[in-house]
Chain length 400, copies 2
């Protein structure tokens, strides 16, 4: 009961903050961002000390998790720099998408305006606390952050820093709110479709699955990344090997890493060298339907020899998750068919699947990646944190 009341308070305060942020110009928002960047520098010791409390409590966690959780001097500086990078991006709010003078003389303009309230649910990575909040702020949105229990002290210190700094800059502190790590509080928000305009998960499959199953607020999520590299009959062999290895090993634990390589049977002679190249990087090559259906997120890859492009397309249609899919081919017709028929957020020709990323795509920064079809698909940058408004100016027009 008490958590319901709290959550309603959080949602109402976020909505009020969003209303105050929406009309702000770029200069006001960028000044606040610069002040946050400066405050991170000034309070570095305090932030690192808070993080030490979290690290001490996370003593038994795996090294990878402890590493992600760590906020040391260098990472604090990187965090501060990232906020300045966000300040340097253009303001998406107010951009004109369409203007038209209608037959009756009405002048219609379609503008970008802030989305409103964004709920971000994420794992124990303190940089997301600041990155996500500041991307939301730049687009004119209020955010509600729900981090991991593991990062509780760090997140509280970062959220307090942002709230105080925004407040000192004349902006509403409630533009950034941090939920407790109590599940009940999150669940109560997720049960109310008006509590936020969108939920963006940053984290593993379990988190996304939980949100997709639970949330009454629309979720923009990458529903897994079972990504494929298809080596076509007309593939350049050296490129095929280089792209497959890169797509698997450059960062195997992320959603745009390749999980299956499909080899056209005319390229069967490539299976040996490809397997060797993968093995040389420590990748285990697997076969069979269980492997095809698995998103390893690890140094493992499935390999299947297919009869033709059609069978590769069927395979991707069946096992793919609509994230990032690549074809290696010198045949323009095969490339065209692949890009047209593969239904995914990003389709690559002769390039690694690893490029699906907001910064790479020229969006400056990303708050996540979506394989949802509604609202935004692919990397979620500042534009994806906006909605639109029609402004229609007349001189007395009435409808006949």
């Amino acid at each position: 009961m008490s958590s319901t009341i709290t959550s309603q308070g959080v949602a109402a305060r976020a909505r009020e903050a969003a209303r105050a942020l929406a009309p702000l110009g770029r200069a006001e928002k960028d000044q606040a961002l610069a002040a946050v960047a400066a405050a991170i520098g000034e309070r570095r010791e305090q932030l690192v000390a808070a993080n030490r409390l979290d690290l001490a409590a996370a003593d038994g966690e795996r090294p990878a998790i402890r590493d992600r959780l760590t906020l040391d001097d260098a990472r604090t500086d990187a965090l501060s720099a990232a906020v300045l990078d966000i300040a340097a991006l253009p303001d998406p709010s107010g951009a004109v998408l369409r203007t038209q003078t209608l037959e009756n003389g009405l002048r219609l303009t379609k503008l970008r305006v802030p989305l409103g309230v964004v709920l971000i649910v994420y794992e124990a990575r303190p940089n997301v606390t600041v990155d996500a909040a500041m991307l939301c702020l730049k687009a004119g949105n209020a955010c509600i952050l729900r981090g991991s229990r593991l990062a509780e002290h760090t997140n509280r210190a970062l959220a307090e820093l942002m709230r105080e700094t925004l407040s000192a800059a004349g902006l509403p502190a409630d533009a950034v709110q941090l939920l407790g790590s109590d599940r009940a509080e999150l669940n109560s928000l997720l049960a109310d479709p008006t509590a936020a305009d969108v939920v963006i998960p940053r984290g593993g499959e379990e988190l996304k699955k939980f949100l997709l199953e639970t949330s009454r607020i629309p979720v923009l999520a990458a529903a897994g990344g079972n990504c494929h590299v298809y080596i076509d009959a007309a593939a350049d062999p050296a490129r095929a090997i280089a792209i497959t290895v890169n797509a698997k090993v450059q960062r195997p634990g992320v959603c745009n890493a390749a999980e299956t390589v499909l080899v056209h049977r005319d390229q069967e002679q490539l299976v040996g060298p490809l397997t060797e190249a993968l093995a040389a990087e420590g990748v285990e090559v697997l076969d069979g339907e269980a492997a095809w259906a698995t998103e390893f997120l690890d140094m493992k890859i499935a390999l299947r020899v297919v009869d033709d492009l059609g069978q590769a397309l069927e395979h991707i249609d069946r096992y793919g998750t609509g994230h990032s899919e690549a074809i290696v081919t010198e045949d323009a017709v095969a490339a065209e068919r692949f890009t047209r028929e593969v239904d995914a957020a990003a389709v690559y020709v002769n390039a690694s699947t690893r490029f699906t990323d907001g910064a790479v795509y020229g969006m400056g920064a990303e708050i996540g990646i979506s394989t949802s079809r509604l609202h935004a698909r692919g990397p979620l940058g500042l534009e994806e944190l906006t909605t639109t408004k029609y402004v229609v100016v007349g001189d007395g027009q009435i409808r006949l």
Copy 2:
């Protein structure tokens, strides 16, 4: 139980049809639309006869409902013409939204592609059965239609006609599926977030409320239309009266009709003539908070005298539903503040709220109006029935 199985079948067939539709070019879709338009003409008697069964069963319904339900010769012709109008619209699918050559030489293209599966839930208006299905088809989507029990015979005849015609044109019949009027079947679909990509309600407040509360599939809906006309201190009196009367009476039962007029106290002398002009059209003028909070959809309007623009903005913020809001003023500064601060799908200066409409906005046709913030806000045309895909072409790029 059996309805769950049926609904899963419906969803799976729709998904398969969507996959077949997605790669189709404009010509193939337009030919199918033309064939549907022709078939409506050819089977006019059969359609009108089916409609007579529905009308006979709806003997006790209000005249307005019986009128909406009616499909006579003239309306059949209009329906056929509307399908040809949709065929004449540009195909949104395949449109290029952005191209960029990245620093590493990758050529990135962001394209519109069909959304996938659209679920439309609507009241007893047979024209929606055809309009909605054909708009979905034109954008390359499969649709699942759920009409009213009142229109059951008409809808079945129309759906059968479309399915047979599509099939004869070599397109999947399951591009158009009609649910039974059984609530359980609809509920089973709404409980599965993967059953469709979006739900679009066409109909009254109760229907929208039901969907917003029940659906696990995202809903694009106009959450009511408590629309306002604000007569500013600097309003032209004749325009103010003409716009207010038009916004109320031109079609009082629709979501973009005005429900409250706010009068700046410097214009208090206008209250008498305005009330007379409204009364002359048969409109009852009401006052008080209960009236401000009511979407009458009837020949009633609330009138409130406000102290200034600020109080008008507060009123709209509190009682408005984010649909269509208008200011009447000759003061550019007041107009600018109103359009910036009012948070609504459409904001008007010196024009009637009644213009919020896909056809008026140059979108050709609309499948509904959204006050949702995610994906699309305002009239939902063909572009709003698409999502996007990134196609990235390289010459061997790997991520470093």
